[in-house]
């Protein structure tokens, strides 16, 4: 089976996020009100072949732990979607 994977890497709760804080500070200047708790991160997308969804999930978790995130400061949220047809 083939899965489309979306990994969202974000700073762990409690870790200061200078980019998020800077964006938040600039919002009132730009005329946006009522927005707070801005946190930044990055999105990483790829596809993976695996026999089962559980196997794909386990492999992506391992990939996130060893490479895509620095577990000291970052968390990953993983989303898997089955790819059908021409692997678009």
């Amino acid at each position: 089976m083939r899965f489309a994977v979306a990994v969202e890497v974000s700073l762990r709760p409690g870790i200061a996020d200078p980019q998020g804080a800077t964006i938040e500070r600039s919002l009132p200047v730009l005329g946006f009100a009522g927005i707070d708790r801005v946190r930044t991160g990055k999105a990483i997308r790829f596809q993976i072949e695996a026999d089962t969804e559980a196997q794909a999930q386990a492999e992506v978790e391992e990939l996130c732990r060893t490479f895509l995130t620095n577990p000291v400061i970052e968390d990953a949220a993983i989303r898997l979607d089955t790819v059908t047809g021409d692997h678009g």
Partner: protein
């Protein structure tokens, strides 16, 4: 006999020859070790220099830690060999799990290229042995991601173990505990954001970096 220093060159390193110059000037024999080698060629000391290894893609040090040379560096460090990471080299050592913590973006979100006043906190490392705690050194910093971050319990542990070896007198980047340099428990692996090789001659504005590099190479050097 002169100590042999291996300076690791990753694609994107840019301070390797400054380190070679500074250590050679102290009487060492420095050589460049390409990141693709798995052999440290019998050197006595390994230095990971500053720069942008592998373009700093994903995170600084994230890809460099998988370079073939790093397995040999990890073995060398585990065997007690002296390993120092400067700036990007510090980031690589944290990613490789040889040093605790992580370096994230400076709190002010600006790239900092300036002199920094440092205080030696602990002599319990290969880079600060023989240097009295409280000694102040003026050494340049040059980084965007030098904001030392670690969980508060670990920071407390590092402080009580004497593993925080250098501290900023005026914290420029938001580092927790004003940390500018840390060592592992054994004291043989040290990472620091400031560049001692750029403070290796009065002509460069300061020779205070020689105090640290001299300690590493068992050479006595006087602060300017």
């Amino acid at each position: 006999m002169a100590r042999r220093v291996g300076v690791v060159l990753f694609p994107g390193s840019n301070c390797e020859y400054d380190v070679v110059e500074a250590t050679d000037a102290l009487g060492a024999e420095a050589e460049i070790l390409w990141h693709g080698t798995a052999d440290l060629n019998g050197v006595d000391v390994v230095i990971l220099p500053g720069g942008f290894a592998h373009g700093d893609y994903l995170r600084p040090g994230a890809i460099a830690r998988f370079s073939p040379v790093m397995a040999a560096v990890v073995d060398f460090a585990r065997g007690g060999g002296p390993v120092v990471g400067i700036c990007n080299g510090f980031q690589v050592l944290t990613e490789a799990g040889l040093l605790p913590g992580a370096l994230q973006k400076n709190s002010g979100l600006t790239f900092l290229c300036q002199d920094a006043l440092l205080e030696v906190v602990s002599s319990a490392s290969v880079l600060t042995r023989g240097v009295a705690p409280g000694t102040r050194l003026r050494i340049p910093i040059n980084h965007f991601e030098g904001n030392y971050t670690v969980d508060p319990d670990t920071l407390h542990q590092l402080e009580s173990n004497g593993q925080v070896v250098l501290r900023y007198v005026d914290n420029p980047n938001g580092s927790m505990g004003d940390v500018a340099g840390v060592t592992n428990e054994a004291g043989n692996v040290v990472g620091l954001m400031p560049h001692p090789e750029r403070a290796s001659s009065a002509l460069l504005g300061s020779s205070d970096g020689l105090v640290l590099l001299g300690a590493l190479l068992d050479v006595v050097a006087a602060a300017s």
